[in-house]
Amino acid sequence: MQNLGINVLFEGTTLQRLFEGLMMTAGIAFISIIIGSFLGIGMGLLRTSKSRIVQFICRLYLEVFRIIPILVWLFIVYFGVTNALDIHLDGEVVAVIVFSLWGAAEMGDIVRGALESLPKHQVESGKAIGLSFWGLYRYVLIPQAVRRMLPGAINLSTRMVKTTSLVVMIGVIDVVKVGQQIIERSIIKVPTASFWVYGLIFILYFIICYPLSKLSKKLEAKWEN
């Protein structure tokens, strides 16, 4: 009897709906990673600045995201900011905003780490051959730094994909929400539905995140020397 529960996954449009939910999740993650990476590169450059004040503000910005859980940030923007500004924001938009800002903070730290790990003589040689500030970054520092930050950046992407599972808490119809709807619909006919549906979602997340974390580990090992 229990073995038949798995059929709940293949009835009607169940799989298709779960897939659509997954696309919503993946879409939020993808857009946030892109925006977060761009902002993060800017953030990382700012953090190598000599100005104490700039450094302090950037550090504070990062710590604020590190100390307060992301779910709390989702709530602050979804309930607090919308309330304060008297605007309406969809859960999806809130999710992209929060994940992008968080991504920027963490990415900034990775970029800073990569830039600071570059040997000093690279900067000095660049300056010696007369490169401008932008030329120095464009041709000398960034190409080398990318190598050092890529494993960390991929790891961050995995974390962001995993964290997108939280968007269900602010009313986004993501893969978890679709799963809940399917379970509720079939709860009487198939009591074991929740086992199969959550099991499938578990595997889906694994299928997305596992190759990413493997890739990151591989690159790290490859570029270690």
Binding site: G5, P69, V72, A84, K162, S194, Y198, I201, F202, Y210
Partner: protein
């Protein structure tokens, strides 16, 4: 924006109770994670057959899936197969399942950082494998790995915010309730952030202090 202090004072006991639940969950989650992580890393170190493969599968599964899904699977999925447990047990198991793999990775990299000469010297003065682990490897690995253990500990305390999803009245859940019941959004969110700061900031200072304390083993490196 007027802050309703009256409201804040009236919900203070509610938040206090929730904060204790958050601390309790974080504490047990971290403790169990440390135990699981230590056992897993020792299994990996000795390359015990079968168990080693199981640990590797566990680490990959746990690190590459979100806590929310792990909790839902434990709480809603397994109950349907006849395995029932209370919300709190489920939350702690979920946190330990997630944290165990992070701690295991941290311990593993710490153990790898212990230099070969240390192990060989230990063996040459006639220590048994268990003594070697207890007196030579773990003290050194612990010092090296302390920063990652501390980061994982903070991470787990923050992850407790997610267990509210399975009906545990921790900070996040209480905030959701209070916003839903009284529409005092600012005050509730203010209390929520304040509570997390009160829990996590001292914890973070304590861990930094601990990190400095255990550096003794770093010498010679």
């Amino acid at each position: 924006m007027d802050i309703n202090w009256q409201f804040i004072i009236s919900t203070l006991p509610l938040y206090q109770k929730a904060a204790w639940i958050t601390i309790k969950l974080g504490f047990w989650g971290t403790l169990l994670s440390l135990v699981i992580g230590l056992v897993c890393s020792i299994i990996l170190y000795f390359r015990i057959k079968v168990l080693k493969e199981l640990v590797e599968i566990y680490v990959e599964l746990s690190r590459n899936t979100p806590l929310l899904i792990q909790l839902f699977f434990l709480y809603f999925g397994l109950t349907k197969l006849g395995i029932t447990m209370s919300e709190t047990t489920c939350a702690i198991i979920g946190l330990a399942f997630l944290g165990g793999s992070y701690m295991s990775e941290a311990f593993r990299s710490g153990i790898e950082a212990v230099s070969k000469t240390q192990i060989e010297s230990g063996l040459s003065i006639g220590l048994s494998q268990m003594q070697l682990i207890r007196y030579v490897i773990l003290p050194q690995a612990f010092a090296v790995t302390m920063p990652s253990l501390a980061a994982n500990c903070i991470f787990l305390f923050k992850e407790t915010s997610i267990v509210g999803a399975i009906a545990i009245a921790e900070l996040m859940h209480v905030t959701q309730d209070v916003i839903g019941m009284y529409y005092q959004t600012f005050e509730s969110l203010f209390m929520l952030v304040a509570a997390y700061l009160i829990i996590i900031l001292p914890l973070s200072f304590l861990l930094t202090w601990l990190e400095r304390k255990v550096r003794y083993a770093e010498f010679g490196n």
